[in-house]
Symmetry: C2
Subunit: 318 residues, 2 copies
């Protein structure tokens, strides 16, 4: 691992943006014991609850040399996915700080430090939990056999020995908070000003929707394996024209029907935007000699190489 230079940090901290307050009434009051040596606490659920806001953790450098980067997490993860890798190597947050960018790591609505609200009264659905077998399969890390042994691709770049540490990053997810989520991120982007967005999976859909609606001042979007593509009317196409997009794809896409379908949809998306004057690039990492990458390429063993590749693409844009 290359030695990383120290960072001269002006400020580090966090804030919360977006959201509403919703009300519950007519619910039962209870007494709950939280700790065995503590007196019971009376819990009255009736009242107002904040909902639909997001947590944002920031690091601001003394002398940034590029635009700030806003990181958007994928479905069942939080901003922690961009921090250290499960095997303790620097994540993309650290690597892009090292390249001179301020960083903003968000937790999407209902995940991590963004909290969640009483359901089904305020959040419309119950949390959805994903077992590690499903996580492993969906992210193309590998599959478990009956003896609970994990089989991976021989060339996998995932730090497989730390799979059990990795799955601790996974959090439940709630469906159906699209509107509030978009509003919260719109507020974040207006606070940050001109920025680059680096997203994964469903985070890339959100980033593209924001750009398509002319929200904020997004200079470029880099998405790791975008899993959904927004509606493209004339206004959306016009807005997306000004936002270069790099969509990165890992290895072994062809072995999964779901990933093949998604990969094809991304080609159609790029063609449509580019035919209207846009600049969307789908980059298959194997086509340039990076083999074995998973959906979690920000923590794969070659994550520094891919960060460098993104950095060079960003440099060519500005």
């Amino acid at each position: 691992m290359p030695e990383l230079s120290t960072l001269t940090v002006k400020d580090i901290g966090s804030f919360f943006v977006g959201g509403i307050q919703a009300r519950l009434s007519g619910r039962e009051v209870r007494e709950v014991h939280f700790a065995k040596d503590a007196p019971p606490l009376r819990v009255d659920p009736n009242g107002r609850y904040p909902s639909g806001h997001i947590y944002v953790q920031f690091v601001r450098l003394e002398r940034p040399s590029g635009l700030p980067i806003v990181f958007l997490n994928g479905g069942t993860f939080t901003g922690a996915m961009w921090e250290t890798t499960p095997d303790g190597r620097p994540g993309w947050q650290r690597l892009f700080l090292g390249r001179g960018h301020d960083t903003y790591l968000s937790d999407a609505v209902g995940r991590g430090r963004s909290g969640f609200s009483p359901f089904p009264e305020i959040f419309r659905t119950a949390p959805l939990f994903r077992p590690i077998e499903e996580t492993s399969r969906l992210l193309r890390i590998g599959s478990f056999d009956e003896q609970e042994r994990l089989s991976t691709y021989l060339n996998t770049q995932f730090p497989v020995s730390q799979f059990d540490a990795f799955v601790k990053q996974s959090v439940p997810r709630f469906a159906g908070s699209d509107e509030l989520e978009r509003d919260a991120f719109a507020e974040l982007l207006s606070m940050v000003g001109p920025c680059i967005v680096i997203a994964q999976s469903s985070g890339g859909y959100l980033a593209t929707e924001l750009a398509a609606r002319n929200v904020g001042t997004i200079a470029a979007i880099v998405t790791v394996e975008m899993t959904a593509f927004p509606y493209l009317g004339a206004a959306e196409l016009q807005a997306l024209t000004g936002v270069p997009q790099l969509i990165l794809w890992g290895d072994h896409i062809a072995n999964s029907q779901m990933w093949q379908t998604t990969r094809s949809a991304s080609d159609r998306y790029a063609e449509t935007v580019n035919r209207n004057g846009g600049n969307v690039t789908n980059l298959d990492l194997p086509s340039i000699g990076h083999f074995g990458n998973t959906h979690q390429m920000m923590m794969d063993l070659n994550n520094a190489d891919i960060a460098a590749l993104i950095g060079e693409w960003l440099d060519r844009r500005h």
Copy 2:
């Protein structure tokens, strides 16, 4: 606000420690639409889930000048409570980094980026949600009238204008994960080595229990308004003898039966430990001229004064 000097940071990142893997079986498989433009995802809840682990975010300085500080959050909050205040001033994380300490901010089990597990199968209880009216009252920030106006003490140090931003920090809580939580923090302490623990509320109970069981190498514990006190047998008293403790108390304790009871219990706790050779100090901030502090004193308007007071207490210990 005093100008803060820049930080020379060697590393910033996060890791997860502790926890188990638990299994669910025999549950229904469903299809769920997460985003309106995405294909449905098949959700099979059967399988293994990580549970009872904790998220830890760290900042390591190039040249620390004191012991690292591990921060433990209170009941319905996460490590975010130690970061920036709701009105954008530096939190205790930033202030103690400025004093030369590496910082480790954890999210307790079931909260924030530590995630939560299917309930009631793995986590024994459903999440408990606390409305803002209850949060405000319990933390001695103020009370809401029928017109939803917040009345506070005239001398309150809470940044009341940012109350709505503050409550976004609140997260649901699950009862009954004491054992796993203690194990996870034991693993954290063994990784960090000799350290200071700064905790709030139920976090102080956890810190004291760890010290009482000789877990880790805790040089000192500072607790903001400790709400529960561990069992003290001969072994526990012996272990606590070597760990100086400062317990800080804010203003208006006498106006709340619950806080009065807790404050008295803390006196009895200190007397018992000190009679056996320990060094526990209950410090009422009003008694030394700091008035109007709430249970959230790490974000009160005079939070830098209180951080300095803690810093001086720590300096006198070493």
